[in-house]
Amino acid sequence: MRELLELLEHDARRPVSELASMLHRSEYEVDQQIQQLEKDKVILNYSTLINWEKFGDDTVTSIIEVNVTPQREVGFDAIAERIYRFDEVRTVYLMSGSFDLLVIIEGKSLRDVANFVAMRLSTIEGVTTTRSHFMLKPYKKDGVIINDKERDHRLVVSP
């Protein structure tokens, strides 16, 4: 099961026939397992890692450290939910250390992101401070090197 998940995580477009072959199992079995994993929400979705900059989009990504006052009974969860429900918010993590929530936001412009932080995020009840950092250049994302210059230098045929 782990192997199947690792293969899908690496390339979700692999046909079931190929997966079955690699895992030495029947197509039916693999297909059933995938369906079950989807049903159990172990597999959440199938997404594509895109280099938007190369495509020509100039989006702005901001990483925001947020301090909040946790609430009785629900702790950080209620505030986190109020934050992650916004479409602008890509990622929310509860953190150990000097701040509580790490929030990653994507916007079309600096003003867009600034507006969101000022008008939406910092005004949420329980949010005490925010510190925004703007991402300048991505090098590696989800295990993939963005501009990998390594090439295959092997000879075409060798003993």
């Binding site: 072959s21 690699m22 003993p159």
Partner: protein, 390 residues
Amino acid sequence: MNWENCISPAVNSIAPSGIRKFFDIAAEMDDVISLGVGEPDFVTPWSIRESCVYGLEQGYTSYTANRGLMELRQEIVQLHKNRYNLDYSAAQDVLVTVGVSEGLDLAMRAIIAPGDEVLIPEPCYVSYKACVILAGGVPVAVPAKIENEFRITPAELEEYLTPKTKALLIGYPNNPTGAVMRRADLLAIADFAEKQDLIVISDEIYGDLTYGNEEHICFAALPHMKDRTILLNGFSKAYAMTGWRIGYALANPIVIAAMTKVHQYTMLCAPITAQVAAIEALRHGEKYMKKMVSEYDKRRHLIYDGLTKIGFECFEPKGAFYIFPSVRSIGYSSELFAEELLMSERIALVPGNAFGDCGEGYVRCSYATSISNISEALARIENFVKHHKK
């Protein structure tokens, strides 16, 4: 000057590698998918490369002891203690070599007297025969059979035994067939070697690359075999370090001393950069190696399934990263198949006869290439067979 007459008879007597011709043709072509590469498609894990860069920054640019850095020899000894419970001495029983290729050459030069015969199960790696000839010996090919999953038996070896037989040279997991020898198979060989008092040179470069339930058996770790065995291994395949040229030999101190003598006057020592990297590989490289092995295993299933479905008679490889389908069943000789497939479908592979006469009728496909390349290659091979079956 007539150089034709000046070349040594020993060199003249060995044929250039059969792989060369295909390399020259394939290298000129665009969009070739190569299943002909005898090395990992991974680059060396970053931690190993980074340790070499750090070593250079720290000034590791000198010669080392002829036998190699003591730290590396100790790591090698420790590995064999942990894995096979073998006791070698880092001071006396280890020689760090420039890949297994050098180790093999040294072993042959150290033991062979003119005319000594060396039994070599075939198909096998291309340099076995040549190394024996260059050392003044006589290679004696012992054909392995597909019916026996390309394993060799004492009865088969016995057929080729003469009073001049001095050594047996084996390489399992095997390049080009992907065959492995199980414990029982090797015990029988060990028994034969003991009875006939043969030296055994065991090339275990693919030892880390076994799949499914197959466990690599180190020949030196079999009962009474340590003293009789020259164990050759290296870092090229398991750690994707082919270009570093680093390997080692483990054996009785007398033969290691003899090999060291040749090594010190020819090579002096293995490159220090590679030795530094090899230390890192042994200390921290196992997890990267295991990841690569699990990747090869998936590709192995894919290519075996694919070739079998197309209709090739094919032995399921248990080690290394090669598969050795028969092309005879579709009416081809090794070379003709390799040539026509390259020309019409742009797939490079290696004709089986490059690995010995009994490799005729087979081709070697390496699955050390990406899944997408394997899938595309299988599709092209299927297309070829559909239109060219004889």
